[in-house]
């Protein structure tokens, strides 16, 4: 268990959002088996060190469950989610209100979130009214205009239009602008670009990156696309069947993946280079001879080329293999194992010192290793 912070120190040192060994199990009902959606994950987002954390995994790996837990939309069945040191479900009315402003969500479908009968202005004016952000119409307009410009949109091109008159990319950026209105510290973006064309993805992701670099907003970027995660994020967490299998700095996870699942994911990305080495049926062929999935063992054992008898007996610990890096694989058992809840601190991102050189075309906070 992570320390209980004394009330005075709490605001100063407690992370903005902290997941401590959270699990979520959905009951099966009527004698059916329950489903484990997330198994003991820890994570910390610190307001004073903004960064982009990518959560990568296939469908059903627990990514969206994690987002819902952090947003307080679902209750964990194990562990707890804390906002500035307090359990999310024990917040006072006032704390809950600031939580609702500090932590914002952007969802996958830029088509479904709009009511087609309202102009897009509606999604922007609603939070202004709800949280009384402006005292006059003119002030509200000014605020909305600023939020739209913050994501690279021109207010005059957007306001007064109906959702169907905007492109998918514009609609998604309006959703980010809506989140910005409330001056959040963290935006939880669940697959924000998966329904947008490849050519527009870059624009949306760059505007997210800008929010972190220029405005100090942390982003939890949930995606199944490892390549964009590598491009925009500082750290990457890889989930597989509800379990965290690997976590670390984005460059390291991509350049030197340690978990066999991460290695498989990276090799499965089709690359635009001349060598045609991608199309192989290996998964199908080798699968037959492999270990069966064991309820007690490693979640990846049935697909793992390295699976041994140890892998079927007990789930692997999370090993601290290098600075800001953890891997759940017994092949790394020489390294120290992490206790539950410690992962959030291990991954704690330290940004580069102010004035450190940045890539001008696409600013990144550099890596302090």
């Amino acid at each position: 268990m992570a320390p209980k912070w004394p009330a005075i120190l709490r605001d100063a040192v407690a992370p903005l959002i902290e997941a401590i060994d959270v699990s979520k199990r959905f009951a099966g009902g009527l004698g059916r088996e329950s489903t484990l959606a997330l198994a003991g994950l820890s994570l910390a987002v610190h307001a004073e060190t903004p960064s982009i954390i990518a959560v990568v995994g296939e469908s059903g790996s627990g990514k969206t469950t994690l987002a819902r837990l952090l947003l307080g939309l679902a209750e964990p069945t194990g562990g707890e989610v804390r906002y500035r040191g307090t359990d999310l479900h024990k917040l006072t009315r006032e704390e809950r209100r600031t939580f609702r402003r500090d932590v914002q969500a952007v969802f996958q479908d830029p088509y479904g979130v709009y009511n087609p009968f309202y102009r897009v202005d509606h999604v922007l004016t609603a939070p202004v009214r709800r949280f009384q952000l402006a005292s006059s119409r003119a002030e509200a307009r000014e605020l909305i205009g600023e939020a739209l410009r913050g994501v690279g949109l021109q207010p005059e091109e957007i306001l007064g239009r109906f959702p169907h008159q905007l492109s998918g990319g514009q609609r998604q950026r309006v959703m980010v602008a809506r989140a910005l209105l409330l001056g959040p510290k963290l935006i939880v973006a669940d697959e924000p670009v998966s329904m947008v064309d490849a050519s527009l993805r870059a624009t949306i992701l760059s505007s997210l990156r800008k929010l972190t670099d220029d405005r100090g907003i942390s982003i939890l970027y949930i995606t199944h696309d490892l390549a964009t995660a590598f491009q925009v994020s500082d750290s990457i967490l890889v989930l597989y069947r509800a379990h965290l299998v690997e976590a670390g700095a984005a460059e390291r996870v991509i350049a030197a993946p340690q978990h066999p699942y991460t290695q498989l994911l990276i090799s499965a990305i089709p690359r635009a280079h001349a060598a045609r080495d991608w199309l192989i049926d290996e998964d199908e062929e080798t699968r037959k001879g492999r270990a069966p999935l064991s309820a007690h063992g490693c979640c990846f054992a049935d697909r793992c080329p390295h699976a041994a008898s140890d892998c079927l007996a007990a789930p692997p610990d999370l090993y601290h293999t290098e600075q800001r890096r953890a891997v759940a694989c017994v092949r790394f058992r020489d390294h120290p194992a992490l206790s539950a809840g410690a992962l959030g601190e291990v991954l704690h991102f330290t940004p580069a010192l102010p004035g450190a050189p940045c890539d001008e075309s696409f600013p990144h906070s550099g890596q302090a290793e």
Binding site: S167, S199, A227, F230, Q231, P270, D283, F362
Partner: protein
Amino acid sequence: MSEPVLRVDGLSVAFGHPLGKVHAVDDVSFALAAGERFGLAGESGSGKSTLALAILRMIKPPGRIEAGEVWLGNTRLADLDEEGMRALRLAGIALVPQGSMNSLNPVLRIGKQIADAFTDHGLHLNRGEEKRRIAALLVQVGLPEGVARMYPHELSGGMKQRACIAIATCLRPRVIIADEPTSALDVVVQRQVMATLARVQEELGAAVVLIGHDMGLMAQFIDRLAVMYAGRLVEVAPIAEIIDRPRHPYTRALVASLPSLETRGALTGIPGLAPLLRDLPPGCAFHPRCTLATERCRAERPLLRRVDGTEVACHLA
């Protein structure tokens, strides 16, 4: 090239619109060799899916095929009556439409849905023969035979997509058109499904048209790529040429928009928005987004012409 298996000649599709006619597909021509893997890339709204539907004569009003011909071998599709066209769909040209894995009938077993295709095309098999052929098809796409007795909800996304490939290939078509067959799948499953498609295609000797916008997938799967922009083909070239030496600025931007796994900070989008089809800019449709545009690009529409064994529609190539 040997005798093409599919030839599309000057195909145009227009949609009636209160503000004027819209050309979703505008004078598109290409030919497919037997066994060839052909790619069709472009942004959403560029007309890729409409072109696929037009080849199969499946455009619905207010859309209409305005001009052009489609030949499957020696058959001109426009000469066929509705019944002949119905027979040719699936048996001659099979379409795996976008999102097809979600259009499997939820209350029918997979085997029954394949059997439907047989009976619908006048193939009346006895029970044993039908069962045997369904089992063979499922094995061919890498599914266990037992899947025939399962309902779609019992299958994963990748398995459903394979079932769709099994249905699409059950009558041994000569051309398979796959419209973004893996867009909803994660990368590992995507590779398995594409490997399945490649294997089935080789066994049938069929040509494949792969529609999509993932240039990585194109680079790894197809032989030749056509890039579509605002309803027109802007570049047609062997895929290695497209990756190494894209000639059209739009192709270059498409290739560059693929996120790299080697260098960070190399994420570039294509500036601007796709043009409205009912209000195309004069000259080259891409010129408002093109960094190299000249006076000529703004005034004169470039036509597809041959440049070093590739075809490109750009004044600057």
